[in-house]
Symmetry: C2
Subunit: 729 residues, 2 copies
Amino acid sequence: MKNKFVTLLASVGMCALLGAQTWIWYPGDYEIWLGNQMNNRRTERGAFFPPFWKTDSHYVVVEFSKEVDLPEAETIQLSVEGRYNVKLDGKLQFGMPDKLIIPAGKHKINIKVWNQLTPPALYVDGRTIKSDASWKVTYEDKEWIDESGKASDTSTTVYMDAGSWNFNSKTSRPSLFRLPCKPLLAVSSISVENGILYDFGRETFGYLDFSEMRGEGKVLIYYGESKEEALDTEHCETMDILSVQDGTVIDLALRTVHPLTNDCYMMESSKAFRYVYVVCDEQISVGKVSMQYEYMPETYRGSFQCDNDLLNRIWEIGAYTMHLTTREFFIDGIKRDRWVWSGDAIQNYLMNYYLFFDSETVKRTIWQLRGKDPVTSHINTIMDYTFYWFLSVYDYYMYTGDEKFVKQLYPRMKSLMEYVLGRTDSDGMVQGMTGDWVFVDWADGYLDKKGQLAFEQVLFCKSLETMVLCARLAGEMQDARGYEKLASSLRKKLEPAFWSEDAKALVHNRIGGNQSTSVTRYANMFAVFYDYLSEEKQQLTKQSVLLNDSILKITTPYMRFYELEALCALGEQEQVMEEMLAYWGGMLKEGATSFWEKYNPDEKGAEHLAMYGRPYGKSLCHAWGASPIYLLGKYYLGVKPVKPGYEEYAVTPALGGLKWMKGSVPVPRGEITVYMDRKTIRLKADKGKGYLYVAAKKQPKASVGELQKVAEGKYRLWIDTNQEITVHY
Amino acid sequence: MKNKFVTLLASVGMCALLGAQTWIWYPGDYEIWLGNQMNNRRTERGAFFPPFWKTDSHYVVVEFSKEVDLPEAETIQLSVEGRYNVKLDGKLQFGMPDKLIIPAGKHKINIKVWNQLTPPALYVDGRTIKSDASWKVTYEDKEWIDESGKASDTSTTVYMDAGSWNFNSKTSRPSLFRLPCKPLLAVSSISVENGILYDFGRETFGYLDFSEMRGEGKVLIYYGESKEEALDTEHCETMDILSVQDGTVIDLALRTVHPLTNDCYMMESSKAFRYVYVVCDEQISVGKVSMQYEYMPETYRGSFQCDNDLLNRIWEIGAYTMHLTTREFFIDGIKRDRWVWSGDAIQNYLMNYYLFFDSETVKRTIWQLRGKDPVTSHINTIMDYTFYWFLSVYDYYMYTGDEKFVKQLYPRMKSLMEYVLGRTDSDGMVQGMTGDWVFVDWADGYLDKKGQLAFEQVLFCKSLETMVLCARLAGEMQDARGYEKLASSLRKKLEPAFWSEDAKALVHNRIGGNQSTSVTRYANMFAVFYDYLSEEKQQLTKQSVLLNDSILKITTPYMRFYELEALCALGEQEQVMEEMLAYWGGMLKEGATSFWEKYNPDEKGAEHLAMYGRPYGKSLCHAWGASPIYLLGKYYLGVKPVKPGYEEYAVTPALGGLKWMKGSVPVPRGEITVYMDRKTIRLKADKGKGYLYVAAKKQPKASVGELQKVAEGKYRLWIDTNQEITVHY
């Protein structure tokens, strides 16, 4: 009975999703516009700092249309962001009507909106007619009339399904969207020289709030993720200056003027900090200083607990780091860039699938990163980031099963791939051309970026394979065949081009057709978890590269993510557990309250704060620092989708040296919970069917069903119930 | 002495032009943005009516840069439209500084501006450093830094020269631009039923102005280009409704609210009209009604006068029609569309070269029409209009010699041609595909739009030839060679494909490789003045098509423009003079105060007002109606450039049956004046050198120099002075 009930709920949920009455817009446009608000909030010592790649914007004129068939007449109410017109069955209505009577029968409603500042958006409220994803939108209807007044054929006009988020009431206008805030007090304050240093206890984000600002003069505000940074007024990365006079406050960075009311003033710009050092002119004092903490409302749907407290703490700080960097979009770090970066985002997405399962923010970030045609550079200007963007669509589809999104996005996937294919060399491989940033990693050592990098070809190949899948989902079979050819041709070239028998590994790159002698971890670890190497070569690589300390060490959590994932995929959970405790535990020992952009255990004290040639250049709250969230969910609790949207799952729990662990992994409309100790596994899955894989010396026993042996010491159990199953092993 | 003085003035003029301190932006961006304001002012009976093609917009983030080498330090003042930052030698300055000290020596200034609503724009005022076209702009500087803080190579970043117009003071912000207005009174008013009909004496444009609005209630306003239209409250094309209460006026079409101050209210929307019919509710009266005439300030640099008063009147009404349709851009007609259309615009440009020589409005219109990449349809969705766009660039270059503009525009010419080339058939010809509007003309008869239209191939071929020239100007020699091949291949196919020995003419079209039997004027007349036919075939065509009354008659001034031009090019000035007097004279007899979109002398009374299946659909002030301006300047005064920018000219005056004529044609920085009667020609050219061509039975005599005989009855005189020359013939 329960099973049936859940199915019913799920289908009700689906209907609600499709029919939700909500503000709609051209798909991707609100996302791109909101991304501009986000990306343009970066500042550097009070200077505005926009991105260096092309900033796209929304289509300024959009037409919304819908065909209806009504049993009886109904009145619809219209709310619109922009100047608009309304056509009923082709007839223009006077002015900008805010309500319209639609007679019974078949009718066509067209609403065309112009808005330069914010995306054209529409909210329609009727008894049965409601704005939702079933409305069609276009930026050019090509509906001309001939001399006789006859309308043209619009059959080749490209109509998309309207985009939306959660603006589900008339008054929640998309352009007014702001993240919510709540007040936070400083945990301590001390006088330092002419100013006061406030400590908010841990890394945080928001608006400084003054409630006892009295007198006149300047207030200098220096923010710091560390105490050192806040107190170093010459070098801290972010700062503000207020000038108070005649009852008004001038924010000198923004050149805005606001009244000072009841001695209260809240900063207009948000900042990331733990410490704030406030220095006032003699004639002014600020008294009590608090802040408004700004955050994305998220439910922590994933969880992890075990017998190791340090690991539990790592998970918690990882989750907090993720939460801080999950904002309007998944961003890199909250202090410095505050930009959306594709290489960072793909990791956020993966962590997110094990923490919030916030699909909307994934989709929004993917739209934002892609921007508009024409493509004039790689995503974020970085070649690898273009490839991560493709891969992230594949991941999204696997975790959510959201085929519709892939279909909507496909034209922009295709034009981006056309850009890439237009820049391949005579081997059909990619090399960095002038204007391309070949990033790979922030490495503590020389990383050759010239010629054909094995790492880039591996990502390129996987991107082509992603295009095959997505072209099929979009029903573009000819495209799929084309991408299939390219992918298989490139894949066949990888080993001959980069495998070195001497090194027993893929070499780093090839210049003028000649393999270099350099071996790095990057290509090898990606080849492992994409299964691009034979079983034998995978094992060779493990020894010659992954577990070989003489190979250039990875010092960013960014690439540690993949390094540790590759080791987990090779069954090295115990080794990875030690690494996690040492590396992330190492940051905690250094006092981290969120995880960092980069961490080299060999560095000491304030060395940890420096990067980019600047003493506080490093971000101490960086999304890519939170990867244990992902590793623990996917390779210890062991949960992953096998078919899109967890229609089929695989659960392969591994203690990796722990005594016990328990946790949950969110899936669409539910969760999978896992408990494991050295004798027992308990599993409960709200959705889908799948195999539980158990490593055991002898045949384990299950409370329901029977385990099959799949290999020496490996058993599996097919689960098609949503009741808890217990396995003794 | 005078000669020297003029040269000096001219060179001073050049300097001023290059070094003018002015607001700058990304080239084309202000034009596209202003175009959106223009194109979105169309209304239809109080409903907003935006275009049906893609509306592009400005780049929202733009970087401006300049390298300077100063003998001594100087302070610059910055005015910016948008949020911005300032870098001096790579170092970001705090906040948004409005002044900056640049030390002596070499320095680099970078200013990055974000503006969603209006184009990022910059005004820099220093002793020697001034914002002008020498500043570089880009929408993506690709200037990233590596881990050590080292900046990337930006050598492939695409920098353009900044765009500008005439916003030459700090306070004349581009986004605030409005055309000027002046008050005009109605010439009469009469009561009709419940309302009052105001007559402004002739076609005009602007804002209705009420100065004695008293009481409360609704005011209904019906505009008409004709009396019939204004009084037909159910069918007039434009209307407004005001609702006055509690001291405020609500414009119901715009849904805006304004205070009623001292009983005065001026309409917010401009309209085109001669008549206005105002109907008030019983409780309200509007008293005196006047208007604010809105216009583009232009100097009438071209002139024409002759012994025929009707022709003089045609020229005057043509000039007024041109002036009314010369607004922020050259538009089609002032009542209905008020949009920028490429096929209309190319004629405005040509008339403009003989009237205002307003190069800025030509450039602005060309940028606006082109919009941004990607190209998703033909210009205005019309195939022929794409080709006219290319041709208009060629014309502009010939008349002005402005090579710099062609260079700036070239990348957008190329991507538009790529769009066209991507849609050619296996013969390398263009056919209308679904979504393409094949316009040709509003014909009073069936015009087949299927298959390969000879007319479209002729325009396509000329466009390819234009690309050859422009690619060379832009230094893109490989492109030029490619276009040359395509152009010559297509040109060779024209006669075999379309010439019919039976018809002695080019046939209208070819379907599936088979010539149709239909012959129309269009392809034949264009082939004549592009010199695509042999001398013999040209003459055949003249008899078989151009002077043959059984071929479908042209009833738009639009195509009459080309028809009469072709006849003039064939030396038929007397015939064309008769046609002009009959056709444009015919409109004047019907009471025209500006020239119309379409005129069929066979129609009667209110039939003249109808079009598009609507009783007042026709525009009675349409730019393409003004072509006598062009014909009289080019084929009677006979002035045209032979080398770009009139460095060399040709003057071939022809009385075409007149007793005498005199007039002037503007050239860059000066004019060419011509007087001619049946015995004498007088010519004075401020600029360039060139030939005066004289048709005479015996050797004419010149006041300076000697005429050479070039053919039987044809003589020419080389002129390289700017003094007046008299020739007796």
